[in-house]
């Protein structure tokens, strides 16, 4: 399978690897996420759940440590995801305490399916599907 390639988004001298994924809630919706290899889980803002027609509190609650060392509650759901031409199920968390300006795409169910290559020189993120044996 050829790699999926995403150009970084650039603001002045700062470039950020934000990419669109589609998620199935009450239909298919497109959500933009910051790809964060240091994040264990993908976590979206609560407003995205409202848009997708998902009751976040029906998910499994898990406390997660964030960058300032504090713990926030995250509600984990299994959702169908489309990334490029691939469709699969992934664990997606939602939180009303996510204090940063991005949704986060973390490792679980994504980094064990694709090899993520962050090419900061060319400002490009490429995803290559892993051939599982």
């Amino acid at each position: 399978m050829p790699s999926l390639k995403f150009r970084y988004s650039v603001y002045r001298d700062i470039s950020v690897p934000i990419i669109p994924v589609q998620l199935e809630g009450d239909g298919w919706h497109e959500v933009w996420t910051y790809v964060d290899s240091g994040a264990s889980y993908s976590i979206l803002k609560v407003q995205e759940a409202e848009r997708l027609g998902i009751d976040i509190y029906s998910g499994k609650e898990q406390m997660i440590t964030v960058g300032d060392g504090s713990l926030i509650p995250v509600y984990l759901h299994k959702l169908n995801v489309r990334l490029g031409e691939r469709e699969f199920e992934a664990t997606i968390g939602f939180s009303d305490r996510l204090g940063i300006g991005f949704n986060i795409l973390g490792r679980k169910d994504f980094f064990d399916r694709f090899v993520f290559c962050f090419d900061d020189y060319h400002r490009e993120l490429s995803l290559t599907e892993i051939e599982k044996v």
């Binding site: 995403f6 150009r7 970084y8 988004s9 650039v10 603001y11 002045r12 700062i14 950020v16 934000i18 669109p20 589609q22 298919w28 919706h29 497109e30 959500v31 933009w32 910051y34 964060d36 240091g38 994040a39 803002k45 407003q47 995205e48 409202e50 848009r51 960058g67 489309r82 490029g84 940063i100 300006g101 991005f102 949704n103 986060i104």
Partner: protein, 70 residues
Amino acid sequence: MEVKSQEWITKNFEMLVDEYPSKYIAVVNDKVVSVGTSAKDVEEKARKEYPTKIPSVILIPKKEDLACLL
């Protein structure tokens, strides 16, 4: 997926951060079709205008959000 909308967002990201910080926007093809503070409202408005499309909805970060330690 709507590649045209995605490419347009990436190419115009600097303008979007300057024009729409902390706002949700919906993009269809190469056009911002709705803007607001409610993600749901922004998407619903875009879908009314383009019922056959999945709009590309994105929360535009503030410039301070871009240099972050996640």
